[in-house]
């Protein structure tokens, strides 16, 4: 699950002011691809959305399931697809006992019709106009995948610097695609074979690994970064924000989307 959303959070800047309304509509499942391993089951849903409104990378959709007696359950999922994709792609991590994610992972099939609402969220968005750094963990990579795909279509992959973390390769959604797009991948529970034949030992990103990504003509160093996106669990988001701060990225350029539970 990549549940986006506001709690009474924070945010230094006046966000983009977008006056829009979104109505409930229907989406037909075109593809439902089960992925991941037993410790990180997930499903990639490709949806044909009726009366679709174009999204910005980083936005999310609400999916609502309806039982025959009209009992409903709804959750939010980040969009993984590029806005120009004729379908909307959602990546749903199956949560233990997940009422919505469990259905989507275990039951949903092509041809099924779901209620959806979106796109939603005017803060954690990237329109492809500014260079940005993305730091994402686990299923938090989903909105970043949308950004990466958008940058590729614009012919501007140089605009994004991407750092992703996961426990294992199997637990990282879109692992191959992110690696091929130039993302720096750090696995914390297993070693990673690199293309040059060397091995990266299991660990969170070291400062110099991330620092090298930022120290580039486009950014002119960490203090020149004008936009940074952090997406992941509560613990991850705190870690990533701290990492960026230690690298010299200004706090007020960091936009966070975090999800998860505390006791």
């Amino acid at each position: 699950m990549s549940a986006a959303e506001p709690d009474a959070g924070t945010a230094g800047m006046a966000g983009t002011t977008t006056a829009w309304t979104t109505a409930w509509t229907t989406a037909t499942v075109v593809e439902a691809v089960r992925e991941g391993d037993t410790s990180s089951p997930r499903v990639r849903l490709r949806l044909d959305v009726a009366d679709r409104v174009a999204h910005l990378p980083g936005q999310h959709y609400v999916v609502r399931l309806r039982a025959p007696d009209d009992y409903t359950a709804q959750r939010s999922y980040s969009v993984a697809s590029d806005p120009a994709d004729p379908l909307v792609e959602l990546l749903v991590e199956r949560m233990p006992d997940g009422e919505v994610s469990g259905h989507l992972h275990d039951v949903a099939e092509p041809g099924d019709v779901l209620e959806v609402r979106g796109p939603i969220g005017g803060w954690f968005t990237w329109d492809g106009s500014v260079p940005a750094v993305c730091v994402a963990g686990g299923s938090g990579v989903v909105p970043v995948v949308s950004m990466v795909r958008h940058a590729a279509r614009l012919g501007r992959p140089d605009l994004l610097r991407v750092v992703v973390l996961a426990k294992t390769w199997a637990a990282l959604p879109y692992a191959d695609e992110l690696r091929d797009a130039g993302a720096f991948v750090a696995l914390t529970r297993e070693n990673l074979d690199l293309p040059d034949g060397s091995v990266r030992v299991a660990a969170p990103p070291y400062h110099d690994e991330v620092h090298d990504l930022l120290d580039h003509d486009r950014f002119g160093g960490a203090d020149e970064v004008r936009r940074a996106y952090v997406c992941g669990s509560v613990g991850f988001a705190s870690y990533a924000a701290r990492l960026l701060g230690e690298l010299g990225v200004r706090r007020d350029v960091v936009r966070v989307e975090q999800f998860g539970v505390t006791g």
């Binding site: 959303e5 230094g12 009992y71 701290r242």
Partner: protein, 211 residues
């Protein structure tokens, strides 16, 4: 809207929805003891010595702006809320106890002018949220620093969080330090980013354009 093929829902959630039909608003689920924490930015640094620097201010359209230090705020008459909270992300948490000070107490000290109709709550991080004055008066809003008898953690908005439990929880601004009285409504942070200006969970006022 179409029935979802093969969906029946979790039995415990359905039961909770039935049992607490008067307490779980439409589209919400009973999160049990879980308390999700979701924010739009990094948590603020509440480092050593913050109690010396912290203050709460009520200003804007008031007779006299009022300001309290951490110690002064905690010396005000205490007030508690026992009940439920509802997040727009669809979780509802039943039977919470929050303790702090009633917003009525803070407003009385500053004296809103007759022109004041709305409040903008400001957080240390720059987060803002707008509320009709009527929604934070009459014993319906608090500045709280305790949850279930324990100090409110930073991730849940401590040291002091606004609590407006009859509205979606993004209105209950974390890390609140200022209430600004205004004549006219203007959107706060999430309200400028697509979320509803009032946010009544019983009317499902989640996003701009909802009733």
């Amino acid at each position: 809207m179409p029935v979802t093929r093969g969906f029946t829902g979790r039995r415990d959630r359905r039961e909770a929805a039935r049992t607490h039909a008067d307490r779980i608003p439409p589209g919400q689920y009973d999160a049990g003891t879980e308390w999700p924490s979701l924010t739009a930015e990094a948590l603020p640094d509440v480092g050593p010595g913050w109690t010396d620097r912290w203050s709460m201010t009520v200003d804007g359209l008031v007779d006299a702006p009022a300001r309290w230090s951490w110690a002064e705020l905690r010396a005000l008459p205490r007030s508690s809320y026992r009940g439920d909270i509802h997040c727009v992300t669809t979780w509802t948490r039943l039977d919470n106890t929050f303790t702090g000070v009633s917003v009525d107490t803070l407003l009385e000290a500053a004296g809103p002018t007759a022109a004041a109709g709305y409040v903008m709550a400001h957080s240390t991080t720059g987060y803002t949220t707008n509320l009709p004055l009527a929604d934070v008066t009459g014993g319906r809003a608090w500045g709280v620093w305790e949850h279930d008898g324990r100090p409110l953690s930073v991730e849940h908005g401590g040291p002091v969080r606004l609590l407006v439990p009859h509205l979606y929880f993004w209105k209950s601004a974390k890390w609140v330090t200022r209430l600004e009285l205004m004549a006219d409504d203007r959107p706060g942070f999430w309200e400028a980013n697509g979320y509803h200006d009032r946010g009544d969970p019983w009317l499902e006022q989640r996003y701009q354009g909802d009733p």
